[in-house]
Structure formats: C-alpha cells, structure tokens
Symmetry: D2
Subunit: 319 residues, 4 copies
C-alpha cells in the first residue's frame, strides 16, 4: 500500500527524521534520456514555493540515483533514488513523544501499528511526499514528448500573513489542468480516470476534498445546463463547454481534464491547544519548531506530479 | 480494472442489454450464513427508491447464485451471482446507434474501444451498478456482526418534479456515515481510508465530487478552527469535534467516518439537444425512453454499499 | 486469488456440484470476432480426450455467454461465461462427507475454511478447470493472429488399462511448445516468463513438477554442454541448440518455448484405502463413482490454455 | 514486476555495477525487534558459501538501512535498505559490450528494452538477488517466532573442482524443507502454495526445474503408491507418507513442505565459445573475470529466503 500505479509504479519509503526518504519507480519506459535539471527545478518548486509563509527547514533535497540508469538513460529496470535527511533535529520533537497533536496522525498511527516514529511526524510527515515530485517530474517528461502538459495553481487560500501573526494556519484549493490528453484514456467501472485521480490526490496529507469539472456545483444544475454539447471543430469532435472536466463515463473525451483539490489548514499551530497524552490524561501543547503556515504553495507541484503519474499510467494501460 | 478491493474483492460484468449483469466476490470470509432477504431488500431500495421521480423500467432483479455457497453458507470460495436482463428493448436505442449523446459515455467508449454496445448505454449504464448492491449487502452483514454500520441519505437535491415537467433532470448530494468503525483502519501513503473511499465512490456513474469531514469548507478555515481536540471520554480517547470526518493521516480515529458525494444531473434529458454523429455531422436529439429524473434516490444504497465494501476490505487488511 | 494474469485476466468461480462453473475474462482486446466453434472444439478435447481411460460423467459443457460481446465481437469489457452443472449426483458423495480421502484436498480445505463442499470435490474438483479452457481458446485465437501457436502432448504416462483393471490410477508428463513467440517477452526479476508459466501450470490439480528446456537434466550438465550458441540464421539471430527452452534471464529469445509438467496419479482409486474421518477415527474407504484413470489426456488442452494465456499476457505487457 | 508477494512484499532494485543494490519491504509486521546479526550471517552464507569453488569478488555487502525502523524495531512502514556496489570494475566487461554471451540474458534484455547495462550482467546479474537474502532473513525471524523453520541443502551437484580446471561450470539441485508450517495455508485455484513457491523460485537466475514432494517421480507411480494415508498421531491428523510434499489441493496439510530446485550450470565459462555480436556477426569469446564455477552453494540461502517469504505471505493472507 506504499505503491501507486498499475504499469508506471512508484513505491515510496522513508520517515521525516529517518536515514533517508526515497522511492522506486518500476515500469518507466526504457531509453529515455532524463532531464535531471528539470527534476531539480521541480524539487525546488516544492522547497522554495513557500517563501515567507513557509517553514525554514533547510533541506538540500539532493537526489541520489541508485539504479535503473546508464549514462542518464533509463534501462527499463527499477529507478531507485533517495534523499538523505541531513538537517534532523529529533530533540525538537521529544516533548511531543507521548502527546497526541490534534488533527495529526499521531494517535491513528499508534492505533494502527502500536508504535510510531514521533520524530517530526515520521511516515506521516509532508516530507514523505518528496519522492512523488521526482516520479512526477519523470512522468511529465514522458508526457511532454507526447504533447501532454500538466499545470496546477492555487485558486483560493486563507490569509497566510495574518494567520502567521496569530500563530495559526490556513487551507485552500488547488486547481489542476491536464492539456493535450487524448480521448479514450481511463478504464470503465473501477479504474475510471476520475477515480484514479481522486485516489492519487487523496494520498497527499491534508487533502479533504476533490472535484472534477464543475464538481459540487454540478449537483445544483439541471441536465440541460450541465450537459456538454458535442461539436465538430475543424474536423475534430470536441465539446462546446467542459462542465464534465474532460471525463465522461470515466474516460477522457479529449478536452482538458480539470480538477480541484481542497486542503485543510496544517494542524501544527503555535497557539496553545488542549489534547490528551498516551495515558489518556488531558494536557496542553503549543507546537513550536519549523512549520508551514499553509501547505498550498508546496502542494501545487505535488498535485501536478500525481496528475502526471496517473495520466502516464492510464496512457500505458491504453496501449 | 473491473475489480474493486484488495482482500474483499468484487469483479463485475455485464452490459445494460446483454444477457446478464453480475459479479464475482472473492475473499468473502467462510462460514457466514447469508441473509438473502436483506440482500433482496437492498436491491429493492435501489429499484423502488425512485418512485415517481424515476424511470419505469421493470427490472425483476432476481439474483441467481452460481457458486461459493453450501446451504446458504459461504464456503470461502468465489461467490458468483447474476441477474438476467429480461426487459430489454434494444429497439428503443436504435436511433441513438450512431449519435453521441451529450455528457454520456458514447463518444469516449468508442474512442477507447473502437466499438460500443449502444443498447441502453451498454457497460456505462447505471444498471451495471447492481452487483455493487449485492456485494455491499454482504459486506454490511459481516460488518454488522462487528458492530459497524453504514448509513447514507440525500442531503441536497434539485427540484425533481419541476424538472420532470420540463423534460430535464437534476443532481444532488449524498452524505454517508460509517458508525462504529474502530481506530487504526486504512493504510498510510497510497492506501489511505479516504483515498480508498474516494476511489470507490468515483466508480459510480455521474459522481463529480467527493469530500470527507468538512471537506471543501475546511479550505476556508484556520487551523485553530479546523483541528479536532482529543478528549478522554469515559476512559476512551476520542475527539470533541469531527471536522476530520473520522480520518487523520489517512487512518480512522474511531469517530464516525463522514463523507459527501456530488452527483451531476443525469445527462439523458428529453429536451432537444444539439450534438454530432459518428461521422462528425451536427444533429439534434431528444432522448426518449425510460430514464430517471434524478440518480440520487438510487444512489443512496450504492454509496452505502461501496462504503461497506471499503470498510470491510480495510478491516481485513488490518488483521 | 481466483484470478490469473496481469492484463489479460481470468477470474474463475464454481464448485463441481454447485449451480454453475464459469469465469470472467477482463482485459481481452476489443473488436475480436470470436470463433465459438473453436472454443467448443477445445472443450471437447478436454471432455472426450479421455475416451476409454476416462470417467463417464456426461457433461454437456454448453457455454452460456453472459457479457462482453456484441454480435460475437468483443467489446473490451469483461467477458463472463458459465456452464451449468446439470448431471450432478451429490448422493454419490454423501458417504464421503465426513471422511478425508487420501491425497485429496478434503482435509486441507477444511483446515483452511472450516467448511468444504463435499459434493464431488467442490472447488478442488478438476471440473473447475473448465473456464481455463475457454479463456485459453480465446487467447489462442488472438495469438494465432500474431503468428504464435501453442501445442502440447503427453510424452509419458503409466499403463492406464492395466491400472483400470486393478482399480488404480496413473500419472504422466505433458510437454508443451510455444512456437513463434517473439524475443523480448517476460519481465526480469519477479515476472520472468518461466516463473509466470510455472505459476500458471501449478494452478492445475495434480501438478507436482515443472521444468523448462532441458530442466532437471541441465543440473547434471556442464556449462559447455548446456550453453546455447548464438548463430546468425539467414539474417536472424537465434540459437543452435535450445537447452534453455527459449528463455534466458527470464525473457524469451525467439526460439520455441518448451516446458514439461509432471502430473501425479489421480488420488481417487477404487482400491480400499485406510484413512481417518473428521473425528480423527481410522476408517476404510473405496472411492466409487465416475473417475478418470489418468488426468493426462484431459490435461493437454489445459496446459496449452495456460501457456496461451501467459504468452498473451506477457505480450500485452510488452506493448 | 520487480515486486514479490501479496501482503509481505519485496520490491528490489539495482544493477550489478550501478550505484547500489537494494530493496523495499512493504507489509512487514510492526513492533518486531530485528536481529541484525542474523541478517549479516545470512548475507555471509551467500557470500562465503562458495569458498574455493566460487568467484573472488570482494563484496563487503554492508547493508545500509534507510527507513521503517526506530531503534531497530519495525514501524510497520516500508523498510528500505541498500548495499553499495563498491568493488566495480566495469572495464572487465568492456570487451563484452557488443557481444551476446551464450545462455546469458544479454540478447534477451536488448530485445526487450533496446538497451542493456552491459557491466557485469546489469540487472540480470546474480548479485541482484542480494535483497532477497535480506527480506528472507527478516521473514525467517518472524516465522521462527511462530515455530516455522526453513532449511535447504545441495542434494546433487556436478564435480566443481574438475570443472574449474577445465574452465567449465556445473549445475545441481537444491532441496528445501519447511518445518512446522500449519495446515490450511495457500489459496486454491491461482494462489496455491505450490504455485507461489514455484513462481518465487523461478525468479532466481539459472533455475530450470521445480518439483514438490516426489515431483517428477510421481508421474511414474500408481495412485495406490502415491497416495498419502491419513493417520491419527497422538490426537493429531497427519499423513503416514509425504509423497505430496505437504501440499494437497494447493493447501498445506501440516506435514513438512518439501521441494527441489534444478539449477543449470552458470553460463560464464572461460573456455572459448562461438557466438554473435550485436551486428549479427559470428565471433569467439572466452569469458574472463571473477565468476563462480557453480551457483549452488550461494543458492541455498536464496532458496530458503524465498521459501520463508512465501510462507510468511501465505500466513498473513490466512489471518
């Protein structure tokens, strides 16, 4: 359950303050010359996006490539990579060892595993999404060669600067658009393009909502308003409107695939909060340390990465 | 890709106007005495829910059990079942053979497969969800014995009676609650409880949005508002509020799992619509025949069924 | 675990004396015109192959097609089919209800499931292999169009007629050859062509050995004897000998894939045997009823079917 | 296809002369205190087993643990590990860059991927089995706590010292026994215990045959000779003989699981051999460098490791 994808598969590993974070990509087509600069840029988008509203943890995020490449060209065998966790300060978290932070995964991990890595959130840390950026950057390169591009942006977000002053955090919405995707991708029934996207996107921490096309707004429309009329545009069949977000019956129709993702505010706030400890005793915490005010800026490249991975996977399945 | 689940698996088959619709359940625990009356009732909920706002197709929906049972008790081997399509009138659809109905799957199926069963929507018909009700009814029985219950309802819907008069259709929202689910279910990273639910629910036709807990509303909250405070309630750790919808870090926290699903209006409207045919020529259609004004009443039992299947699957994975 | 294959997948269901035996093929390419006569012939090979040395159960084996077809052409959606169990005489087996037949699956099924269908072997009956013949026949048609053919034969077998007189049974070996298979099929590491074949073939009842190329004989050779010299044969690279059975490093080399399968004697003998019953008490049984003296004649078409399914699956994965 | 297992899963990566060889274990139970000394010993068995009849490559095989552990205790999250390839001499292989070594995977990899890592066999090198030893050592520890032990030995092998003098290599047979395995493990139909073992074992390089219990010898027996009589041994049902190798109907019967694996001779011989190069031109090669005379000594721990992994996986599935 640490693997995403059917033919283009990413298996990730790593805890926030363990030895390393990394992944294994299985099913990447062979003979692809990878653009490592682009991968670095994508990692930088994740890292620096946050600027003033983000945490200050210095992560070099230097990717070490372990396998699957010969002179920078893919061999078709598994591409393993990792980034060492160099700037770890587990002592920052010692105070939280026995306390359940509200709306974090501390309590649920302990219920599931009977043990948890309390250092920086462990496996539940947002840092564990780093391998997704790497795999996404590779997927994007392959898609680009096929004329498919993925682009996301923050379309709504709380007032981050005010929240920072108040020791609070904010959430927001990311919208993503996949352009150039051919008609006919996605599997009916349990492998719909929309279902695969929803599944992938809900793998990100803090995601609480997903909608495709006009999404929840469609629930308030009439059929006559919601339907997308087919037209013949210079010899090519397409739709006049795109309420469906490019997907009908779970399969792409050739129009842009458009979806939105709702992120809750990051639960690590520096305001004092009531909670309980492992013994079930009430206690108060104020989460110090390096934390983002908002996950959104970092999330953009993650949403794109997952969209690219799903699109490539569906493309490979359709061949 | 016609299979849902990891350990409790449902594979479905069938087209709307083919010989039969059915499924194979693999991984059902052995030695369960099935309550066939309950399964019938659930199928009836799907069938009659619609009453005056629904289509009039007479589907006996008599389930024929093919395997996996001995005197009504599960053997642990695959449970296959089917329902024959008896009331088929393919001639109703002959006129639509070469026309792409707006916001239906006609065009996308043809793009994917180069062929489609044009009789009543074929594999894309809502009728193909019938096996989900059967598998869900079995999952519910197993969960009930473990003290877990699933209950959904329509929480918002357009004005169906007005839409019927206008030859139009409406959408709406279904909310579902899973009660009694233990803490610790769900797999971190790519098998989150929320991700599995989203994936399952997006398998239903017409679904365009999914949110868990407060969902999209969380995107507008501050952390201090969105966080669920842990409390000790008579010796049991739980949360004071449930903005998270019972899931934190992808894993259940023991509180109710709550989610909402947005359905677009059914695209089959009797109003005249512009579209194109297979040759790309513009044409006008008015979809006659037996069609629902709104999918919502039927959808309730389907959402429950998928929620039950996912919960049971995650429960089996956690053992 | 009742599903075989990665892209061309067969899920089977059914017990020997339940309502029906059948399967669901998911992933069959669309727009294939199926040759139903050929499928019937293959089923007949399984049924009549045994002639005088086989059991006399009259199985019409009439396949009912449930889905996935339009006018005999594949839609790309799941192809479900079944054969009803019409000639059931469960009373023949009543005496064996509480007794564990030696080297049968009675005891192991009960240990696994706590329950078993005692009528004719239930899910462990050889009859449950029928869906494999159907799926194999479809795979063969698709492979044939690509110039690939699968052919098996019995290469060694005990003296069946003598065994029949003595109330005994015999085993034997089936050799199978896949001709025309292109170089480059099979996945390295855990999806080797040889591993996939071994896995598939061990799904048949009574299989106890599998070897590829010269198999166990290779264990006694020297490298200089076992190696297959590459040669250039009219512009095409091939090997002078075929000790490897067409597979090197788990991947096909373009030469014929050759493998052998060892079947133990059918455990149902009419001679008196000592055993124990469910209570652990010693008892004596003599298995009456309709049983084959040897599984081999029936097994030929089954081995071919599995080889065809694996080859097609690996072919689809390689695209 | 670089992943083995259903619930206890190993994904491997790495080429012989790439940066590192490693693996990711997903599904390892949490709260297990790992015995790292034992893992080292198992790696040493693989490394030094060969003694005088083996190659001289100095591999420190120092395992670096990357994730999934806290103070040596499993977290339930993916356990990633790697061993760097430090003693690489790719120049040893430069001469073989364009030549297809007989019965090696050079030609087949190129046919599959259009590219291959020619340095030391790349992904097809026996060195890539190292992660199997690590995962197997962990599986053994978990099984041991449940009273299950796995033990293999070489039961036949060619004359290695003579072969060495002649610049030749030899093959042989490894027999493995799983003791203490409970009755009821394995899934009927396509997940038989025997099929899972066969699939796993055929993942090792040079494996060409697999048999369970009396295997190919059973093909020559009569049913009356081959059947294993059930007996009641001090209140416990077991079998008097074990021709079946502990498996009936694909499910364990509580007796020892016994199987044998045939290994062909290593194809790297120093004798001169005829072959062709990439251009299809005939040429002669004599493979120099560090190579084993026989894979068998190294193979023992690998066969055990795979048997342990399969047994644990089937055990987890049965819960």
């Amino acid at each position: 359950m640490n693997t995403l994808g059917h033919l283009f598969k990413l298996t990730t590993f790593g805890e926030s303050h363990g030895t390393a974070i990394g992944g294994v990509i299985d099913g990447c087509p062979s003979q692809m010359k990878l653009d490592f600069d682009f991968i670095e840029q994508e990692l930088l988008r994740r890292k620096t996006a946050q600027s003033s509203i983000s945490s200050q943890r210095k992560e070099p995020d230097r990717v070490e490539w372990l396998s699957g490449l010969l002179d920078g060209v893919t061999l078709g065998t598994p591409i393993a990579f990792m980034v060492r966790n160099e700037d770890c300060k587990p002592e920052d978290y010692e105070a939280l060892k026995d306390v359940y932070r509200p709306s974090h995964a501390d309590y649920t991990y302990e219920q599931k595993y009977g043990i948890r890595d309390w250092r920086g959130g462990g496996r539940a840390s947002a840092r564990t999404t780093l391998p997704i950026v790497v795999a996404g950057a590779i997927a994007k390169q392959i898609l680009k060669a096929k004329g498919i591009q993925v682009c996301a942006e923050v379309t709504s977000m709380g007032d981050a600067e005010q929240a920072r002053r108040e020791g609070d955090t904010v959430g927001g919405v990311v919208e993503c658009r996949i352009v150039g995707v051919p008609a006919g991708l996605g599997e009916p029934m349990f492998g719909k393009f929309s279902a695969e996207l929803a599944h992938a996107v809900f793998s990100l921490p803090a995601v609480k909502g997903f909608e495709i096309g006009d999404g929840f707004a469609l629930a308030k429309m009439k059929g006559s308003e919601a339907n997308d009329t087919f037209i013949n545009k210079v010899g090519k069949i397409t739709t006049l409107t795109n309420h469906s977000g490019g997907i009908q019956g779970g399969i792409t129709n050739g129009n842009d695939v458009v979806f939105r993702v709702a992120f809750k505010p990051i639960p690590s706030i520096s305001q004092a909060q009531q909670t309980v400890n492992r013994a079930g005793e009430p206690c108060e915490i104020a989460i110090e340390g390096r934390h983002d005010v908002c996950a959104l800026p970092r999330a953009v490249v993650l949403v794109e990465a997952l969209a690219a991975m799903v699109t490539l996977d569906m493309k490979l399945l359709a061949q």
